[in-house]
Symmetry: none
DNA sequence: TATGAATGAGGGTTCATTCAT
DNA sequence: TATGAATGAACCCTCATTCAT
């Protein structure tokens, strides 16, 4: 699961991928910088050449994960399709994304708590530190904005379907939460070696929810 | 060197409840014994009069949470009802349980990873320690057994409904996972101050899933 | 959050020597990692860069002490000398060793109890931890083997002397224990500032015992 | 090894004996009040009805051990016997004492370091505390006086023997230390289940040393 | 870039000790 | 007397982070 860059120089990307993997297995708090470093054959100290600190690395992982899914979801929403087709494709995209990239998917979901903790900038903060901390806050805000967009896209398609009569009238907020809960959970129980492929699982879940929505 | 300004003696139960709350908010790794102690006006050291260690306390929280829900689910399953009624009631019981006792419910869900880590007995292991460690392992095994039962009950009712024609043919494993994922997630987004009550949310979710299942 | 006011980088060897000194003065249980660290101008945390844990450090101290003495005793035994000359030289070597290196010598003697406590591997035991713990057990076993050899060498020379008529017939086990007890005790009462030098003391003790043995 | 007073009230004596046993096995620092309490079926808290604190208990153990041996040694010294007979009996008395009461004997020897640490009275010391602390200091001083006497008695007999020509001229200080070291060590290696009885061991050791001394 | 050495801050845990019951 | 509950202090150890090389 851990990339081994053949003793070559390690890229930012390599670290993010490896970190995502470790994070998904252990959770943020239980994952040490040493763990992540080991996964790319580095020392913990070396990671600081690539990321300002642990939070910054976590954020990079989450950004990567979210961007990946968002990149697949967005075009569907803005495509010209009936609402049920849209939702069906979105569900599949999300679920497949989680199964294909368990690491990124689950990390995105489970570690938000850690990012949410508002941490003050280090007490001994020079001007430069303050600047870089502000940068971090900005990136974090951007992440949450993206996350809101993600949720919003689902809610939007559902609302749209309800309005145009494709779906029966449901509370779009509750339905979206229900949907996303089920999706996120896949990262917990899915095993690549399991009986069913990610595609099959995704198809089944899409069917469950669409039948529940059908007008 | 030892005062006791405590208003009243604190019971094991008190600690479990407080711990559940803190655990849900912060997660296992991020929760310190001091945090939990503070929540019941004690010192961290005092907690060790009631629980052997942090793991043991976590386990107690999870046991309490699981037992609570299981106590509500079991009678429904063994009642004489049509499959869809059963499932409807089970979903409501679970979701309402989570909303009423967010702490216990969510703790049960999110911290399994911590319990799963196989840990060796403490380093300074006398015979007595080993014995109590064995006890812990037993309790942990019992917890997982109960957890399996919990899942099994849902799966069982679904399978039953499929067989007697109440439900359309679905993969009961995947459906159960989908269901439970959605339920567990409630602990994340539900806010008592929200627009809808736990009962209303539960009813909605039950409807979603039952419509998705109807033959 | 990490300064380095240290004059010079500290070597493993430095720590072992300092630790031996502290250990001899305070005993294992009463010696804290902080004590040892202070003796080499480090923080307790820094010691963990050089030794996995306190036990490992203790073992290193004992190994060093034992190896030092063993290195002086062995050649004497395998030399071609009359038994009484051998024993005389061995006694002197041991006693002088203890006086010259009180720290190492006494540590070797007094802390065996701590090492004897069979301890299970650390609680948070990953596979890697288990491996390194196995290593520790191996080293510990090797230490006890060396210790047995040490005792055996004395017993062997005594037995040999009895058999070739140099010594009167004594119980070699009891005599060895008597001898070693007296030697080890030197670490307790010897003061470099005392009336007699280590060499003088050693010579006197050798004389006592050899007269007691003479056929 | 631990007295079990049949669930009856426990006497000061019982505790001292049990404590001696535990102390010998574990050493002072590693022995907890709970350990000692458990050996007499009590709670740690209960011990404080019998002893002011741990140090006080340790001191009581050492006093008991020392008094026992001293009581056997003194009469021999002041008896009217040739020096060699005296010394022979003293050696036997000491060694047999150690083997018969391993606990008391060894505790006496090995834990002096703990008593030696000069501890200041507790910072929060009321007048009463100060008084009882002064008492403790007095008792401790008395103990060390007794200990000096013990050593002095041996040295005295040796010197006497040298002066009256029974023994060859040896340094009585060094010889006494050698003697006592060997004796004390017996507490470490003697096992009641061993090949030889305490009496036999004592006789052998006496012979070794007396031959070494004979004029 | 990469790392070994170092460190401050804490976290879990133990322990001697106190006190109300 | 005995004890359960509580606590402050201290200990071992880990970890994110820094810095000189």
């Amino acid at each position: 699961m851990a990339r081994k860059p053949a003793d070559q120089s390690v890229s930012r990307e390599d670290i993010i991928l490896a970190a995502a993997d470790v994070l998904q297995r252990k959770g943020y708090e239980a994952t040490t910088m040493k763990d992540i470093a080991a996964a790319v054959n580095l020392t913990a100290a070396s990671l600081y050449h690539h990321f300002r600190n642990k939070d910054s690395l976590l954020l990079a992982v989450m950004e990567a994960g979210l961007e990946l899914i968002l990149g697949r979801i967005r075009p569907i929403v803005y495509d010209d399709l009936p609402s049920d087709h849209k939702l069906q494709q979105m569900i599949c995209a999300h679920v497949i994304g989680v199964t294909q990239n368990t690491a990124v998917g689950a990390a995105m979901v489970f570690e938000i708590r850690s990012l949410l903790d508002v941490k003050s900038p280090p007490a001994t903060a020079s001007t430069a530190d303050h600047q870089s901390y502000a940068e971090f806050l900005e990136r974090r805000a951007a992440f949450f904005t993206a996350r809101d967009e993600f949720e919003y896209l689902f809610r939007q398609v559902i609302r749209e379907g309800v309005q145009n009569g494709t779906f029966r009238p449901v509370d779009d907020g509750i339905f979206t939460n229900t949907l996303l809960g089920a999706h996120n959970w896949v990262g917990i129980w899915y095993k690549p070696s399991g009986r069913l492929s990610g595609d099959e699982i995704a198809a089944m879940m899409a069917e469950f929810f669409l039948r529940g929505l059908k007008a």
